[in-house]
Symmetry: C2
Subunit: 341 residues, 2 copies
């Protein structure tokens, strides 16, 4: 016998209305998949014991289109993206909350797949999803599903990372190839049928970040280069730290397939989003140690030292091109990619 | 001279793209309004010191339509709604995160008004907005703006509230009139032009909740009766605690204007959302103390004891009607109200 609230196989307005159908959806779909003793679906909040100390907290909304793409989906993205922003603070992510804004008519099969993917990603990252919320909006007032996750974790003793910490002489490291996520998502959109095997790099970086901090305890800061890509992150750092940054084009790890797709799409991989890479600014003395630690981790095998921090009253980011010239790497170049995360 | 990113007076896709326009919007609108030393807009996460103990965390997405309604707007609602879910756990809310999913074309004036309202509500509730996120979706893929807030706070020493705690003999208290929020929002929708002065009760309940706990330290649990109204909350409690609940129609505080509007709209105030009311289940011995504490608080002047907990293997919620009969108060009755919060 089919249950009333699942009869039509799609999300309906009643699934967000606070009644039986919503309670059913929460229990049978979300609580069942995320299952842990803090998430019962019975309380207005989750209660966790937290040790004294510093807590890192971060939130991101996810609106990626399409919902499913090579290498991931909005669910794994929503877990990993927030885990990563917490980890970039030198914290060990502990728990996540999730808020779903669902468009009426979303197939329950799609929602189940997304929720299962979130549960898997959370398990892989070692975090629990402890509380959530479910709203439904009318057809045409949303786009499938939007998910906001908020994560928190404990900051490691003695670690204090900040975009303001970069100093002249520091090295700039990236943990792997650039642009995979953005190109994978673009390639999965209707109307783009360039042939590609590129998959999103979507992954949880907490393990990699911990390895970097163990190996290079003086690391100044870490960032995940998501929207705006490496270019945006480096410009933010240059501005916040009041320094200049110079990178070498030849040192940038970029897959040939990604470089090729970027050419077809008219994109510059420096500006394309990543969802499983980190940028670390490390004092020169610890840069090799950080690099080795990255390369020893499965998510960092293509890691590279790509540049260094210098003095620059203009806080410019510049690139030494493959041909020996220099060019500015400004915040925006060419078209932006909408709905990439 | 107008700034490029604000030139057209509306949110554009570039405001969510990770470049200069987004950084501008974040700095000039969000960081400026929420201004506090934890929110610089420069880091991937906020870092707070947190004392050892239990942390309560809660999240809600807000999709209310229209964005502005008598007594509030989506901004104040997003702050108060999450503050309240944290406070219902016996915790003192400390900080919030916010995630904005904005539809392309939203007037910046509307966004500013919403953000100012959030800032005011946060100040009134004594919480800080410490980190956020901003995404933009294409016209027709959202509806103005959706906001998800996540809140956390420290649970009071010795307090342990849960929907499972209700026991036969306990009293059921409500802190004030029922249905104001839902009716105020419905009344502000196009097509509903019934004359009404009803305003939403949207308010932060952390002060009131603390007063209840001070006066009645054995309080079993507190809930804010939002979507699904008092009926949904009582049914959830009955089910989680394995008890029956009986309420008296005559004891329910309902404004005549709300009762009248509900009749016109074909709604039952028991099922209509509130955003500034709490339900408390309190042992009989402390019920009068809890009631007095509520009535002494500006947000609890219409508080009432409306029923009590009993034994019932079916976990039913029943109401003694004004005419001396009894009727079931089931989860759902009549039409649901979409997009009420
Ligand atoms: N998508 C979800 N994933 C995990 N848990 C969820 C999800 N949606 C809701 N829940 C859980 O279900 C329970 C009820 O959530 P609900 O949103 O009804 O509570 P509320 O926030 O108090 O009400 P409202 O959202 O109307 O203010 C909570 O324990 C919540 O953590
Ligand atoms: N609506 C907002 N309100 C308050 N602060 C915001 C808001 N949007 C962004 N911020 C702040 O701006 C900074 C940059 O946010 P951004 O979302 O670009 O970082 P990110 O999450 O690392 O990137 P992405 O969202 O692409 O993964 C952060 O410090 C964040 O807290
Ligand atoms: Mg609640
Ligand atoms: Mg992020
Ligand atoms: Mg909720
Ligand atoms: Mg980030
Ligand atoms: Mg709530
Ligand atoms: Mg973000």
């Amino acid at each position: 016998m089919k249950h009333a609230s699942f009869e039509n196989g799609v999300v309906e307005m009643s699934h967000g209305a606070g009644g039986r159908d919503m309670a059913d959806l929460i229990q049978r779909l979300f609580v069942a998949a995320f299952g842990n003793d803090l998430l019962t679906g019975e309380e207005d909040q989750a209660i966790l014991s937290f040790p004294a100390g510093r807590m890192a907290v971060s939130t991101d909304g996810f609106v990626v289109s399409p919902l499913f793409f090579p290498g991931g989906d909005i669910g794994s993205l929503a877990v990993n993206g927030t885990v990563n922003d917490v980890a970039m603070g030198g914290a060990d992510p502990v728990a996540l909350t999730c808020s779903f804004i669902i468009e009426e008519g979303l197939p329950l099969a799609d929602l189940s797949r997304i929720v299962a993917s979130m549960a898997g990603a959370a398990r892989a990252a070692g975090v629990r999803i402890v509380t959530g919320d479910t709203k439904v909006v009318e057809r045409g007032k949303g786009d499938g599903v939007f998910i906001t996750t908020t994560g928190f974790g404990q900051v490691r003793e003695g670690v204090s990372l900040s975009a303001r910490n970069a100093q002249p002489g520091d090295k700039v490291l990236v943990s792997g190839t650039l642009g995979d996520h953005g190109v994978a998502v673009m390639g999965s959109r209707e109307g783009f049928d360039f042939q590609t095997d590129i998959v999103s790099d979507c992954a949880a970086l907490n393990g990699l970040a911990a390895a970097v901090l163990d190996a290079a305890p003086s690391t100044r800061l870490m960032r995940d280069p998501t929207r705006g890509g490496l270019a945006a992150v480096l410009n933010e750092i240059a501005e916040a730290s009041g320094v200049g940054i110079s990178i070498a084009e030849e040192a940038l790890p970029i897959r040939p397939a990604v470089a090729g797709a970027c050419e077809i799409l008219g994109l510059d991989p420096l500006y394309v989003a990543n969802e499983g890479k980190l940028v670390a600014i490390v004092p020169a003395a610890e840069a090799e140690a950080a690099l080795s630690a990255m390369r020893a981790h499965p998510l960092g095998i293509d890691a590279a030292i790509v540049g260094e921090v210098g003095e620059d009253p203009d806080h410019f980011v510049e690139m030494e091109t493959a041909f020996g010239g220099r060019r500015m790497v400004d915040w925006i170049a060419g078209e932006q990619l909408p709905r990439i995360c």
